[in-house]
């Protein structure tokens, strides 16, 4: 089974050309951090309430990325809130994406291609070698949104991470998303981690708009 982090990164891979899609680049990075927190929560290493994160078990999981983040969290007892931890682990966003891509490559799901654009600019692509895992993630996302049944925990987490960073739009049409807006909001609101990811992305977008306004 793929980790939440791997599923989110896989969802961001364009199935046609292997490009990494991120409509809101930093938003996706926050979503990656949220996915790691969900992986740690599913592994019963951390728990959350309405504001804070509690570390409940520091024993390694066997997953290098999760264990690095968990060890970092265990070393910083001064940080308590989900928001503080989002900002802290956000600094490691490139590692998170790179390690998830590497894992997906080593599992035979993606391959790595490097090329030059106009003989100058390096372009990296990650074409699908096996498209079934990505299809599986997409089907689960679509079912969780389009059905009125109570979803599995993992699928609630997946929707609540895919939506705020704009990845849900690659799975569902705009019309379907508009029709199911209430359901999407319901699923996104269930988890403290995803509520804080959404807050962080909105805060970032507001800051960027204000900065652009000042420049203009």
């Amino acid at each position: 089974m793929l980790s939440m982090l791997e599923e989110v990164v896989l969802l961001a891979v364009d199935e046609k050309n292997g490009g990494l899609r991120s409509t809101r680049e930093f938003g996706t990075a926050y979503a990656l951090v949220g996915a790691v927190f969900f992986d740690l929560a599913l592994a019963r290493k951390i728990d959350t309430d309405t504001e804070s994160i509690q570390i409940i078990d520091t024993k390694p999981t066997g997953d290098a990325t999760l264990d690095r983040v968990l060890a970092h969290m265990a070393s910083r007892s001064d940080l308590k809130t989900v928001r503080e931890w989002l900002e802290e682990i956000f600094q490691q966003r490139d590692d998170l994406e790179g390690e998830a891509l590497q894992s997906l490559i080593s599992q035979g799901i993606l391959r790595h291609e490097k090329s030059k654009l106009l003989w100058i600019i390096d372009v990296e692509r990650f074409p699908l070698v096996d498209n079934k895992p990505q299809q599986y993630v997409k089907v689960r996302l679509a079912n969780a949104v389009l059905s009125d049944d109570i979803p599995l925990t993992r699928d609630i987490m997946l929707v609540s991470i895919a939506e705020p960073c704009g990845l849900l739009g690659y799975v569902l049409s705009e019309a379907a998303m508009a029709t199911r807006r209430h359901r999407i909001q319901l699923l996104c609101n269930m988890e403290t981690i995803s509520r804080k990811v959404t807050d962080a992305i909105l805060g970032l977008e507001t800051s960027m708009r204000q900065a652009m306004t000042r420049v203009v």
């Binding site: 929560a41 728990d47 959350t48 319901l186 609101n189 403290t192």
Partner: protein, 105 residues
């Protein structure tokens, strides 16, 4: 730590829950609720004795409710204190779970 009890009253299986519902106790709670759901047509989780619920606790309740939905079992959560109810309300769970102020019987 949680304490769990079970009794049958007027056709309802009442699962009494007391203590903190968090990552340490979530699996135990979910297993107890699933067992009750597997053996009864109507199950009420009595949360009167619950003084704290974390995200792991909420997930356990949601997955028990999912199991009840799959088996067409009537499932309700009752008698939460104001603090615990606020946590459920913040997560919007009142929209997908059947939550009552008092036990159904």
């Amino acid at each position: 730590m949680i304490q769990l009890t079970e009794e049958t009253r007027a056709g309802w299986c009442i699962v009494g829950v007391r203590g903190r519902v968090d990552a340490e106790s979530a699996d135990e709670l979910e297993a107890a609720l699933r067992a009750a759901i597997g053996a009864n047509g109507k199950v009420a989780a009595n949360f009167a004795g619950v003084d704290y619920v974390s995200s792991a606790g909420l997930r356990a309740v949601i997955q028990a409710a999912r199991a009840a939905q799959g088996k067409s079992v009537e499932f309700t959560i009752c008698s939460m204190n104001a603090h615990v109810k606020k946590v459920f309300d913040m997560s919007g769970l009142h929209q997908i779970l059947h939550i009552q102020g008092e036990l159904p019987c």
